[in-house]
Amino acid sequence: MNKFFSYIVAILAAVAAAACGPKSVSPDVMSPEAPAMNPDYAGVTFPPNIAAPSFNIEPDFAAAEFQTEVGRCGQTPEIIVRSSEPAVELPLKKWRGLLGRSVGDSIYFRITVRDAGSGKWIGAPDVVCPVSEHEIDGYLVYRQLYPGYELWSEMGIYQRSLENYDVTPILENKDLNNQCINCHNFSANDPSRGMMAHVRGPQGGTLVSKEGRVEKISSRMEGLDHGATYPSWSRDGRYIAFSANNVIQVFHTAGTKPIEVVDMGADLIVYDTETHKAYTDATISGQHHLETFPHWTPDGSRIYFCRAAGMTDTTRFDTVRYDLYRVDFDRQTGRFFNLQPVYEASADSMSVSFPRVSPDGRWLMFTRSRYGNFSIWHPEAQLCLLDLRDGTIREMDEVNSDNIESYHSWSSDGNWFVFSSKRLDGLTARPFIASFDSATGLAGRPFAMPQESAGFYRLQTKTYNIPELTVAPVTNQDALFDGVVGQPAKSVMLIRNH
């Protein structure tokens, strides 16, 4: 019997020892630099409510064992992960606890690697990451699909909780006879206030979900040559500005750019979700210019957008360059006035896309590339920031890479933004998150949206399209689905002011 109990005690002791986790090893020698983390989280600013990042340790020598300690700066590590594999996947609960205790302070990653040759543990300076006082909006909504050209098959709009790794579908085309779903957008980052998406196909239309009620309107409005495409929903939830684009795709013969998507025509319209009328006029539509990528100012009185000279038979696609414009909108009459150029990028042989005004109205972030507006296939595409107070423009070197930076959107409070970047592999867009200080206009070092698996981004072949931060999850998936399959698209009266 005594023997039996001694076995039990031994087993319990073993279990307890395992539960306590590994004890940290001390380095035998120190290296001047920390080994690379992939994806790179070195020096980034974390929101206090973000899920734990997973990454691979990539030392520049053959390693036999890897140890990562994570803790609050100046304190003993709270998380220790040791493995013969380079993948580091941190326990979510401990991580969230650590972040909670480190708000306004910094945490460190202390990486120690055992050299396979000498057998010595090689230490490195701590990788220090500030933890912001500002929480990030809890969800990221994105479209996921293959980064293909013209065909599509599996695609869907999904929402990912940034506080853990939960992904839930909002709309998937496998449930919709493989129709295309695209261009989701929200009013003030709040799905309950307003969410929209286009569906292209036999049951096509534009889904407009407002306070839980969903209606499907016709994307192709009478009197307009092209269907509604790129949206922006005003923060008060009443108006949706659309560009109506006629696009074609062309393919590069050489080089690393595979495709260009070209506007053959593009006009702006504003749809009133209360009266179900749409407005446009010659200021923002017509053959002479291409107008696209509208974005409302926070007060809903002005629209920033991109404008280029209209296409002619002799226009070379690589000479189409978009300038940044703005136009005021009279909410009483539905008229557009005071059209002004804001940044004539074409004068610098550059082109603007995706203007986005920060929630406080002071900053405007946009993407700048050499030509066209489909910057997601332009390796030179970079994020730029315009100070709307003094009109100064700068490239955001602190977030840009030597590969593509493209679509971006602000968090509801403007303290964070998310953007698509292809810096990890040059093919698939990944959502990168960065902090933003509205007082200085400076962003923190960006990081890839944390994933549960360290190898996720290396293996995932689908792209993240249109990342949008939301304060709450979308909960009316069934209504959205019914909106697609159960409602005919209502026609919208277009009022063309003169």
Binding site: G148, E150, W152, S153, F251, H252, T256, D318, T461
Partner: protein
């Protein structure tokens, strides 16, 4: 019934299914294996189960064994035989009676037939297997002597009669025959089945670059008079690779005209997986990559498409992208060796045998691919890669097939200088004879190319026959001439093309 009888019947079924899969429908196994890839990863299970249904990963797991046709046939046959055994057991456990009439054989025969199509996932057998397994498990747990009527039956059961020892297998054969007649025959003996088989096996040869075999198959197809764009396209490729493009392309009516040489991009998922072959051989890797990517979007990450993605991205100098697809291939069961080879290629930065005509070509100024006419592409390739023989032949052939005499002559002057090409292939000589009529005798003669007396004679004979109008009776040689193509086939090609354009625009 003697318990061992079901094993005899099971063995018969296994043999029948194996023969059906291995000898009658191996192309179906090949096709399915090439379109469904099983990966050993949790992400794969999660994603595929979500997107394509919970049983999809299980189906892909079974399909992967078709990498070796005999193994695939055996695994599928075993699955169906297990269905038979489980049904036998279920019938006995729930009723107390043996299935002496072997009605249960009809189920696996039906399931066998459900797999003999390329139009759907081979899901039925897997789905049935899972359901029947569940029923069988329940029957094993709760059935048998626990059920009063079964217990009574079992307790009062008389010893089996001897006659069932031979009658039952005989009935199984009858059921098998009935099942074949009802479910299978249509799928393995019809003309659609034969056509599918020919196309799939031809593509198999194209992938393996067995050009003589491709030519034999496509010639046999063309000889039947059936029109098929894919076979026409494969035939042109095979003719180029066997050195007979100009001598034999018109041996059969080129009812697809220039489209015999390539697939104009029409956004069709089914065409997408074939369009890259010609661009790969031309060294136009950007365009080949685009086709393969589109195919991958349409069909998913299949083994051949992943393989091409890796190869093309290595060639285009995008190692990180190549690595991404290679990682996937490495997670498969049977493509490990291929992945190992490609890993070596990735380290070397090049793929043996893959020509990249656009290497070093600056993307500035920008040039866009002409996705609906291969002529422009071959012309550009020749600018960058003047030694590209395939581009040279395809350019000239494309000009001939559209009947553009001016462009053909310009191509000849530029790419077939008379100093090196005084004697041209028969087809080109025929074209020159014809162009004399529109461009003038002197203009063509002054080019300096030789036109053989034999061609001249045949042209005269052709013209005499052609002058008879509706009463003309062209012999086989005349039907294979360029003149016949231009005057009697090309108008139909253009008419068909205009009609299809109008249809696609509407």
């Amino acid at each position: 019934m003697k318990p061992y009888l079901k094993y005899i019947v099971g063995a018969m079924l296994f043999a029948a299914f194996f023969c059906c899969y291995y000898f009658v429908a191996p192309h179906i196994l090949y096709f399915q294996e090439q379109h469904h890839l099983f990966l050993w990863s949790a992400d794969y299970w999660r994603n595929m189960a979500h997107l394509r249904g919970p049983l999809y990963p299980l189906m892909a797991f079974v399909v992967q064994f078709c990498y070796y046709p005999a193994l695939g046939a055996a695994v599928w046959s075993l699955l169906l035989v297990l269905v038979y055994f489980m049904l036998q057991s279920v019938v006995y456990r729930l009723s107390g009676y043996r299935d002496l009439f072997q009605i249960t054989t009809l189920v696996p025969v039906y399931l066998c037939s459900s797999m003999l199509t390329i139009d759907a996932y081979p899901m039925e057998p897997v789905r049935w297997f899972v359901w029947i397994f569940a029923i069988w498990a329940l029957a094993m747990i709760f059935g048998g002597r626990r059920l009063p009527w079964v217990r009574r039956r079992m307790e009062s059961r008389e010893p089996g009669r001897r006659c069932w020892a031979w009658l039952s297998p005989l009935l199984a054969v009858v059921c098998l025959g009935a099942g074949y007649q009802a479910f299978v025959k249509e799928r393995v003996a019809g003309p659609i089945h034969e056509a599918e088989r020919t196309m799939i096996e031809t593509e198999q040869s194209v992938r393996a670059r067995r050009w003589a075999d491709v030519l034999e198959r496509t010639d046999a197809w063309a000889a039947t008079g059936h029109k098929n764009h894919l076979m026409s396209y494969f035939r042109a490729l095979a003719l180029y690779h066997t050195g007979g493009l100009f001598d034999h392309l018109l041996d059969y009516p080129q009812t697809f005209g220039i489209r015999s040489l390539f697939f104009p991009w029409r956004g069709d998922k089914n065409q997408a997986e074939y369009g890259h072959y010609v661009y790969q051989d031309l060294g136009h890797i950007n365009e080949a990559h685009r086709w393969v990517f589109e195919a991958m979007v349409g069909w998913g990450e299949t083994a051949p498409l992943l393989n091409y993605m890796v190869e093309y991205n290595i060639a285009m100098g995008r190692p990180v992208v190549a690595d991404k697809f290679l990682c996937k291939l490495e997670q498969s069961t049977f493509y490990g060796r291929r992945a190992e080879f490609l890993r070596g290629c990735l380290a070397d930065g090049k793929v043996p045998g893959l020509r990249y005509a656009m290497e070093g070509v600056s993307p500035d100024p920008v040039r866009w691919n002409n996705v609906i006419n291969i002529g422009g592409e071959t012309k550009f390739i020749l600018l960058k890669d003047p030694e590209n023989e395939m581009a040279r032949q395809y350019l000239l052939m494309s000009m001939l097939l559209v009947g553009n005499g001016d462009a053909a002559v310009r191509t000849l002057i530029e790419h077939y200088p008379v100093a090196e090409n005084r004697v041209l292939p028969r087809l080109v000589q025929e074209a020159l004879v014809m162009y004399r009529m529109s461009m003038g005798m002197d203009a063509i003669n002054s080019l300096g190319y030789e036109i053989s007396p034999e061609v001249e004679n045949r042209f005269r004979e052709y013209m005499v026959e052609n002058a008879k109008g509706a009463n003309a009776r062209f012999n086989i040689g005349q039907r294979r001439s360029y003149w016949y193509y231009v005057q009697h086939i090309l108008p139909r090609v253009n008419h068909d093309f205009s009609r299809k354009q109008a249809q696609s625009q509407s």
